[in-house]
Every structure is written in C-alpha cells, then in structure tokens.
C-alpha cells in the first residue's frame, strides 16, 4: 500500500503554520451538526474530547473504567518536557526536537517531532491556567529538573504525581464540557469494533460492562486515544485494564499497525518477587539524578550491600558512559542492567536486580533534600519491599513500560481509514524506536489539545458524509460480529483461566521479544504463541454470562487480541534486521555491544496490514527522511 504522510512542504519551522493555514475550517454554526466519538479518556482522549466540545462539536467520550479520571496517564510520575528555556541553560525548540529524534534512534518522523517540540511550550501554559499545581521556586516561578537523559532542565513536574495532575486538569476540562452539554460521557463502556461504512470510519460498537448490552454508536469521525499495548507481556508497569483491543479491532478493519516491535523497557522498576505477581511498579526515573547504579564486581557475590567495599563495586553506567553516567537513555540503561545480571552479578534473591544507591547523595546534600525530592517514592518503595532506601540501596530491574508502536497515522494523525484518527500512545508517530523520559505526557496533550481539534475539523469540512441508518448493513454486521465474539468466548467452557493463558503468553513475549531478540528466538516464539493460542480457543474457562458485569469475560476478549498482536510483534521484530532503540537484535551490535542500526535498509516505518486470522500480514513501508538531524551512531560516552 502506498503511504502518504501528508507532511507539509517548506522548512521545518514553518510546516505546522502552513498546515494550520491549509486545513479547512468548519463554520462555527455548522460545528454542532457534526458528532465525534473519542475512545479513551487519558491525557490524549480527555484533552481532545474537551477541546472538541469547546469548539462546538457534539462529542461522545467512552472509557472502560468507572470514571474518566482513572485512565492510566494518571500513573506517570516524573514530569513533562517543554522547550521553555526558563532555566537559561541553552534549551530551544530545536534542541528538544533534536534530542527527541536522536533519542528515538532516528526512527521517528522529523516533521511530527518538530511540531511536538513547538507545541510543548503551549501545553505548560494551558495546564498552568487550568490550575495544575506544578512545583514552584520560592520566587513563584515554575521549577524544572533535568530528566531521562537530557542535559538541560526542561522538565516540569508536580511532585512525583505529574501524570495525575495533568490528567486531572484534562479531566476537569472534560467535566466542564459535560456540564455544558457538549460532551456525553460513557463510562464502563468497552469498544469492541470499528464501524466502517463505504471505506470511512463512522462509529464504534461498544459493550456496556454493567449490563452487557452491545450497542452501535454512529458519528462523523472516530478518535482513538486508547493507550499502549505493554500488557501483552502480562507483567508491565501498565494498569491491569490497559489493552490493545480498540486499536487491534480497528486494525482488523483495515487500519495499518506501525512498528509493533518498538517497545520500551523502563530501567527503574521494583523487581519481581513471586509467581503471584500481577504487575510491576515503576520507580520514577528522576531517581537516577541522585542515585548511583551498581552491582558487585564479582559474579555470585551474595554479601549484603553494606559489606561490599567501594573497590569491589562496579558503577557500570558511570564506567561505560562517563559523560552521561547514570542518566543514559532508558534503552541503554535497561540493556546494561540485563547484561550485568546475565553475567551473574545481579542482586537480590532472584539475581534479577541492580542497586540504586543514594548514600553518596545523602552524604552530599543531607537526608532532608533527598526526602523533599523523592520522599513519596521512597515511601512507596518501603511499603512494597519493607526495605528503607535511606539505609539500604534500592533494588531495581527493567520492566515493560511504554509502546512506541501503534496504529499508523499521517501528519494529521489520521490513519489510513479516512475519519479514523489515533492520538497519544495508541499511534506510532513521535518517539521512533525509543521514547525519552517526560515526553509521553507531552505527546498525549499535544495531540489532544492542539493537533487533532484542527485536523478533525479539516476532515469534517472536506469529507462528504451522508447519514448512516441504524439498519445499515455494515453497522448490522459489526454488531453481529461483536455479539458472536462474546458468545464464542463464553461457549468454550474449558479448564484453564484467562490469567493463566495471559501469564504464559507474557512469558513467551518477554523472553523472545523483550529486551533482546534474535531471528531464531522470534521464529520459535511465533510457533509457541500459535500453539498456546490454539489451546486458548479450546480450553478457556470463562465463568458467568454476558448479560452482567463479568470481569473474566472482559479479560478474555483482551487476551484474545494480545495473542494476535504478540505474533505480529514477533514478525515485525524478525523482519527488522537491525538494532535500534528498544529493539535490540543480538545479531546486530557494535563490538562494544551497542545497538547497530542499518540506515541503508531499515530507515522506514513498518506498517502492517491485516490479512485474515492466522495469515501472514502485508508490509507497507514509509521511508523516513532526515533533512535536519543527520543520523549518527547514538553515543552517550
């Protein structure tokens, strides 16, 4: 398929201005005649729904949780980047753009990233005006910190709860529009299918999670802001409910899925403690600003950390990357942690952990400074592990945290299905093969507040959309297929629980399509996934009925989609014969063990088309061109 990214002509600094001028406008009096569906109520979804409501469109917003305020954006801890240069330390829009393209290992679209950097400054203004209580200096100005591999202080934060405060800002803007009658909220509603009529997106099928009722909702455009798919690994830092279902079902209706193998492993999570574990807890990356990461020099050294003398410790990040030290980007930090654990130098009972040690910072700055900066994180760590990080170094290990892949979108955030827009983590667009810290919040809000309200308007102003009757055959088909899907899961009546399948699937994907991958491992993983999937469809046990609240049924539908996604991830990872960002192929590394890109053959976006259940997907390529940031080997030495 020919992919047109619709990137505007002209120099990069003027592209978004040009696009905004070229985008057609809807007459203010006509806006109320158009209805828009927004699925998801996180930073991207809530900000889009609120902004579209303010403009005068009729908006319906759907979320599977009991309230839009629960969306998983709420769990982001560290902060949000913006090129404000308030600290006078040499930041600029261009520098944020440059850092993001480089950090993404040259697998993101330059034009999108530049726009993101431009918009970043407006996001902060908007959030401050909404009453987001960002951290302040004594003089009353906004405070910043450096974060996640950046050499300037451009990160704005609200204690360790930045995501929560930004989401509450967007949620409150959304509630204001609900109060005004501009937005209708549908909580406890899960999207089961996309309605495509005459080749354009015209609505969604949802299941009411309380009554079980399956319904069609018709609109003029559909926006998906449904987040990432990290839960395919079972254990991740994502919320338990986070899932791929909305974008996967849209994919099955024809939307291309781009770069599914680009997943991010976060280096600082609390290590796994047992089989019953249901999720992994992230410790904010900001901890790396003051914590030093180390393991014992000798393999198998089981002494408690206090008994290991300085000379027998290996501060491996400081040793290998003297200029960035403990602040190297996430993919580099994660891979190095895995490498030292593979050498048998990991710490803790399982040997899958490294120390994050604050004793030097406490000596240098005093306990009160560390307490003010990280008090809530230290408390959380102690609550979970019953160890006091002021006295004993934290133990951390990498975990799946974010997915850069997602539905393919053009510069206007529209998928290849006209009328279907995809925003936030659910699309693939801005982070390439690795996302820098504090930029997910930025992208979600940029897409929702400042991009999609314009581009949806342009679509509505130019598309010729007639009414869709409830009796329309495409609507009826989508309804029937959703109902059959639910019945199929309920009728298997096998022995094994959904969670047990999900756990087993997650282990396959983590082992072979996680922190390091090989063609051989991926091929084996595909056949293991298929085998397990066959068992899923013959031996799944979903108790209860489809007519009331049934959490096992909800999970079963999501896991069924994870099975199909997992296979696509492995296919994509096997097809990309290079290492870049979070995608590390063992066959392609430099002599020092760093990721080895192959720009000549793989400087493209891999966009996969669905070709039917169990059939090999079709690959379309969007070539990536770098006019401004010349691709180079990323070096953090």
């Amino acid at each position: 398929m020919e992919l047109n990214s619709h990137i505007p002509e002209g120099p990069i600094e003027g592209k978004w201005d040009k696009a905004r001028f070229d985008l057609k406008l809807v007459n203010p009096a006509n806006k109320r005649k158009f209805s828009v569906i927004v699925v998801g109520s996180g930073l991207a979804g809530a900000s889009a729904a609120a902004s579209l409501g303010e403009l005068g469109y009729q908006v319906g917003c759907f979320c599977f949780q009991d309230s839009p305020r629960r969306a998983h954006s709420i769990a982001a801890q560290g902060g949000i980047n913006a090129a404000k240069n308030y600290q006078n330390d040499g930041d600029s829009v261009y520098r944020l753009f440059y850092d993001t393209v480089k950090g993404g290992d040259f697998r993101a679209r330059e034009a999108n990233v530049y726009r993101l950097a431009q918009i970043s400054v407006h996001i902060i203004d908007q959030c401050v005006a909404q009453g987001v209580p960002f951290a302040r200096e004594y003089g009353g100005t906004l405070s910043n910190r450096s974060f996640g591999g950046a050499q300037v202080s451009r990160t704005f934060y609200a204690r360790g709860q930045t995501g929560q405060q930004l989401l509450l800002g967007a949620y409150q803007a959304l509630e204001r529009q609900i109060d005004a009658g501009a937005v209708t909220m549908f909580p406890r509603s899960e999207m089961l299918d996309l309605i495509v009529v005459d080749g354009v997106a015209r609505g969604i099928i949802t299941r009411n999670l309380v009554t079980g009722k399956i319904e069609a909702h018709i609109a003029h455009a559909v926006i998906l802001g449904t987040g990432g798919y990290g839960n395919v690994y079972y254990l991740s830092t994502n919320a338990k409910g986070s899932n791929v279902t909305a974008i996967w079902r849209a994919h099955k209706r024809g939307a291309l899925f781009a770069n599914p193998c680009f997943t991010q492993i976060h280096p600082t999570c609390i290590p796994v403690s047992g089989d019953y574990q249901s999720k992994l807890t992230l410790m904010s990356e900001s901890l790396r600003n003051d914590g030093r990461i180390w393991v014992p020099r000798k393999a198998g050294d089981k002494r408690p950390p206090s008994e290991i003398p300085e000379a027998e410790r290996d501060y491996y990040l400081e040793r290998r990357y003297p200029s960035f030290g403990n602040l190297v980007p996430r993919d580099v930090a994660s891979r190095n942690a895995k490498a030292v654990c593979d050498e048998g130098r990991g710490v803790g009972e399982t040997g899958l952990g490294v120390y994050l040690d604050f004793s030097d910072s406490i000596k240098r700055l005093g306990k009160h400074v560390i307490e003010e900066r990280y008090g809530n994180l230290f408390e959380m760590y102690e609550r979970i592990t019953s160890e006091d990080p002021y006295k004993v170094p934290m133990r951390i290990y990498p975990a799946i945290h974010y997915t850069m892949g997602g539905l393919w979108v053009d510069y206007n955030l529209q998928s290849n299905i006209p009328g279907l827009f995809v925003i936030g983590e659910a699309n693939f667009s801005d982070h390439g093969a690795n996302r820098l810290g504090a930029s997910a919040l930025m992208q979600g809000l940029s897409d929702g507040y400042f991009v999609v309200p314009y581009t949806v308007g342009n679509y509505l102003a130019t598309a010729k959309l007639g009414p869709v009757a409830p009796s329309n055959a495409d609507v009826a088909n989508a309804l029937t297929s959703a109902q059959q899907g639910v019945q199929r899961l309920l009728s298997i009546k096998g022995k094994r629980t959904v969670d047990s399948f999900h756990r087993a699937l997650g282990k396959i994907v983590w082992d072979d399509c996680g922190m390091s991958r090989s063609a051989e491992g991926l091929t084996a993983a595909i056949s293991k996934i298929r085998q397990l999937r066959d068992e899923f469809w013959t031996n799944l046990n979903v108790p209860g009925s489809g007519e009331d609240l049934n959490q096992s049924l909800e999970k079963a539908g999501r896991v069924a989609d994870f099975f199909e996604l997992a296979e696509l991830m492995c296919i994509d990872a096997r097809e990309r014969n290079e290492s870049c960002g979070g995608h590390f192929r063992e066959e392609y590394q430099t002599p020092e063990g760093e990721a080895q890109r192959d720009d000549e053959h793989y400087s493209y976006v891999a966009a996969w088309g669905y070709k039917g259940y169990g059939n090999f997907p079709e690959l379309s390529k969007e070539p990536l061109e770098f006019e401004y940031v010349h691709p180079s080997q990323r070096s953090y030495k």
């Binding site: 009991d66 109060d179 400042f450």
Partner: protein
C-alpha cells in the same frame, strides 16, 4: 500464611447479598488484591464466579480500588490503598471481613464494586477553571508562592477513591469536595470562580444524597493520600461567603443518574 476471607457477595443491587467465607494460602509479599487474584483463580477452577472488585493501576494512584477490611476503609495501614497493602501486615490465620463501600450515593453494582459517578458530577458542577484550550497566558506570567503551590498540591493529591465517604458515619463527601475546592481555591487561577464553585459543588453534593459533615475526622484518617481535614474548613468558608456574594445567581444541579442503560 493462611488467611480467612469473609467477603460480601451480591450479584446486583436488586438481589440480596450475603457473606461467604473462603480460605487462601497467601504469601506475605503479595498485595491484598493479589490475594484476591489467587482466591479468584481457585474459584474459577472450581466453576464458581470470582469475586468482582475494582482495580486498575495497582500502584495507589488511579483510585479504582477500595473496600472495607475489618471495618476500616483500605485496611489497617495508614495512607495506603488496598492495592499497595501487603499481606505481611496481617497475621497467619487471621480473618479479614471484606465489604464494599456502603453509602446511599454509591449504589452497589456487584460484590465489592459500587457506582461512584456522583463524584464525577460533583466535579462537573464547578470543579474546574473555566479556561478553554488556547487562551492561556505564559506559564510564568502569574507568580505563585511556593507555599500556595504546595498547599494546592496537598489537596490535589486526592485520588477520588471514595474511602472518605465509606468511613464517615454520615457518608459525607466533604473531604472529597473540599479537596477540589482547596486545590483550585488557593491558586490565583481558581480565584475568579471561587464562590460560585463552592455554591454549585456543595449543592450538587447534597443533591447526590451524601450526608452532612460533623467534623469527626474519620475521612482524613483513612484517606490513602492523607488529605488534611482543613480542606473541609476551606469548603465551609467558601460556601458561606459564596452564599452571600453569589446570592443572585441561579445554582443549577446535574440530575443524579444511577442506572446503566
């Protein structure tokens, strides 16, 4: 360790509920919710319906989870949601009585899950700053004293879980409502709408069927984010002043909706 669980089971609001007793082999490192996961896996394997309970982030920030453990909202550990409460805080062989939040304004949906949409309607009745996208001045245009930003943040930390209501003998939502009014009210951005906000939010709170506050303080005691009791004083002050300042305004309410159709 062995844990006895006495759990409230109720299929729907219209059916009668009752306690059911189970025994679980728990690990001291697992969370309360992981303990329920283990119970549920066993129930499904025996062909029974698992216990329905709400949860999502499992790191204490989304506000989805929450139930009473031996009569205390979110259990015995201060400032901790049930998703972060590890089993090591209980004794081997201990019995835990687990019940949903009980309040008229939170109608039950199933087992431990209740309907908290009343909270969303309280926010929709003025728990925001009326600023549309695009009309904001520069972030540093209005300086805000660090103390004010900190006080605002202390209140803004509320996760909307509903423990305050469940713990209150009057099922009052004063801590929740006061927290939002304090979060916005101490910032210059929230000042222009401060009084009307107070009037509207308190009116909506009463309309939803939450009880009145009699300053018992159980709410702040169980609050997983330790929201200070002072936010209720803030609410009362703004409501009182607002009742005079905005006396000529009509205060509209949103209709409480409790069905799901």
């Amino acid at each position: 360790m062995k844990i006895k669980l006495k759990i409230w089971r109720q299929k729907s609001l219209s059916e009668r509920g009752k306690f059911a007793t189970y025994e679980v082999d728990a690990n001291p490192e697992m969370s309360m919710l992981e303990c329920l996961d283990v119970l549920n896996e066993g129930l499904i394997e025996q062909g029974e319906e698992p216990v329905a309970f709400e949860h999502d982030c499992r790191e204490g920030i989304c506000g989805s989870c929450g139930f009473m453990i031996n009569g205390v909202a979110h259990g015995p550990l201060p400032a901790t949601t049930v998703c972060q409460l590890t089993m090591r805080h209980f004794k081997d062989g201990q019995q835990l009585v687990i019940e949903p939040w009980r309040a008229k304004a939170f109608p039950l949906i199933k087992d431990l899950i209740v309907d908290r949409r009343a909270f969303d309607r309280i926010i929709a009745s003025g728990g925001y700053v009326s600023v549309s996208t695009g009309s904001a001045p520069d972030g540093n245009a209005i300086p805000i004293a660090k103390e004010a930003a900190d006080e605002s943040m202390d209140a803004a930390a509320c996760i909307g879980c509903g423990a305050c209501v469940a713990a209150c003998p009057n099922a009052s939502a004063a801590l929740f409502t006061g927290a939002k009014m304090t979060h916005l009210g101490v910032l210059p951005q929230g000042e222009p709408e401060r009084h009307l906000r107070a009037l509207r939010m308190v009116t909506q709170m009463n309309e939803e069927g939450f009880g009145g506050c009699t300053n018992i303080g159980e709410c702040t005691g169980v609050c997983p984010k330790a929201i200070p009791l002072g936010v209720i004083a803030h609410m009362n002050r703004d409501y009182l002043t607002g009742s005079w300042v905005e006396r000529n305004k009509t205060v509209s309410v949103l209709t409480p909706v409790t069905d799901w159709n």
